[in-house]
Symmetry: C2
Subunit: 311 residues, 2 copies
């Protein structure tokens, strides 16, 4: 059974077919968030702090940390991103204790993150592009961390799922040459928007199943991409996630603050027998007890809490 182990200093998250779905919180990422980008350039980390706490409170298993901001004062990310990555990771891991996912397209920023990140973070990402394989796989080996493998290569992103599978397979093989086991590769099969490509959903479901059956790897994706440009995106995402889980997907980079998607994931965990006795489901969905009907014990406990609050 494939298990990808990711750790903070104190907590372990396991990505695996027999585990609750791994929710990688996507919010700490200035891409497309102008206000956050401006804050980071100004050295203001209040939104990062708020997003870290909110995502953990909503049930994130792991937090993605992307510091890919393009400064107005210096447009070279090779210079600006590594020190910012260091700073954001130090700040976040001082604040919350779940494992982190170091996310950058700048190899120096990935290594800067690896140097300060405690435990065993997930590295995000390598692709099938030659220069990326050569830059990232040695880091994966050196720091003994798992890595997200995105299934595009030097020819770009293929619309043919067979080609994307072949790219993923090649990354797994190249990683093996470095002594990196398949359980440390989390493949992102690439999710296209169904608004642009009608077969995008079916492609992902088939690819995930094939990646699981034939390569035995865990999988992840940028889940909300599926609904790009469409109305009621949360409704689409909330069906896509259980369908991907039923097909074998084991994690996603997504917004854990969205209740509809998180409820769908909790239900899917229960339905795949990864929520023993439905304990998590029941905890989140316990029906409210009417005042008059509350058993004495429960009422007492509730009143106790009130008293403590008002004291």
């Amino acid at each position: 059974m494939t298990r990808t182990i990711v750790e903070s200093q104190t907590k372990t998250a396991i990505i695996g077919f027999d585990q609750p779905f791994c929710v990688i919180g996507e919010r700490i990422n200035p891409t497309g968030r102008k206000l956050l980008a401006a804050e980071l350039e100004a050295g203001n980390f209040s939104t990062v702090e708020k997003d870290a706490l909110a995502q953990v409170a909503c049930g994130a298993t792991m937090l993605d940390i992307n510091a890919g901001v393009v400064y107005n004062s210096n447009p070279n990310p090779n210079e600006t991103e590594p020190p910012l990555m260091t700073k954001v990771i130090e700040m976040v891991q001082a604040l919350v204790d779940i494992p982190l996912c170091i996310d950058s397209s700048v190899p120096a920023a990935l290594e800067a993150g690896l140097k300060v990140c405690k435990g065993r973070p997930l590295l995000n990402s390598v692709t099938g592009e030659e220069d990326r394989l050569e830059a990232i796989l040695p880091l994966v080996k050196k720091y003994n961390v798992p890595v997200v493998a995105i299934s595009n290569d030097d020819t770009g992103i293929s619309e043919d799922p067979e080609v994307r599978f072949a790219v993923a397979k090649r990354i797994v093989e190249r990683a093996a040459d470095y002594g990196i086991p398949a359980c440390d590769i989390v493949v992102d099969p690439l999710v296209m928007p169904i608004g642009a490509m009608r077969t995008a959903g079916l492609q992902v479901f088939e690819l995930v199943r094939k990646l699981r059956m034939e390569l035995g790897v865990n999988t992840t994706c940028g889940a909300s991409n599926i609904s790009f440009g469409l109305p009621n995106r949360h409704g689409i995402n909330a069906a896509f996630l259980p369908m991907a889980i039923a097909s074998g997907m084991t994690s996603a980079i997504m917004n854990p603050v969205r209740p509809q998607e998180m409820e769908a994931i909790r239900a899917a965990n229960f339905l795949t027998n990864n929520d023993p006795h439905g304990a998590t489901w029941i905890k989140h969905n316990r029906p409210p007890v009417a005042e008059g009907e509350a058993p004495a014990g429960a009422r007492g406990a509730r009143e106790g809490r009130r008293r403590r609050r008002s004291s």
Copy 2:
């Protein structure tokens, strides 16, 4: 490609892997509905009428008709159910034009329904029990209708999905002996409550996939059974349905009046490329146009509606 054709006098519903999920409205069924049972015994069909119209308005593909009420005045369903089935079907098909599913455990009630039902109804159901096979398959052949095949037999309902698959296979083979093709068998693999059996969800997903891949049959189920006894049942159902659809399920007997489940199904149709260009999704989720922003045509139409309402 397996296609099960079900027809009313004027409309055709196709159950198939390349079709939108077939929603069989479950509401017209006195089982567990004391008020409806009492109404039917008193010859009052107002709830049936209301349920028929509401289910069609909410997007049911087909309506299940069950007249299995136990009269206080006569506890023998063999006497009471056939004439009631006749009456309910005649009433419903005078009111709505979608295909019907004739649902009974009383063979005489099934035949009474077949006699008055226009078009090509779905018969619900045969099991793997010897006496049921011998009573129902000749009806299926005689009236040339498709039939729901429930995967239990004389030994009961097995908890082993392999046994349930074997029962389904035997029904398909027995039907073939009568000249009934596999495309006219819609297998119900039997959905157990996850509250009672932790692997119930996984079992259904695996069985549906196997039934589709190995027997090439369409499938259905009593969907809400999965969440029996649990809090926030709609949340579980709304994840279960897309997961079952991703596994290959093509229809369910369910309550189409529930918006959460129906939204999940519309999203799943889009994600399996069975909602071309997302037309149905977009129609149901068009963002509201603010008064000031409405194009003249839309505003005119809206005001036209208002005028008609107030006249």
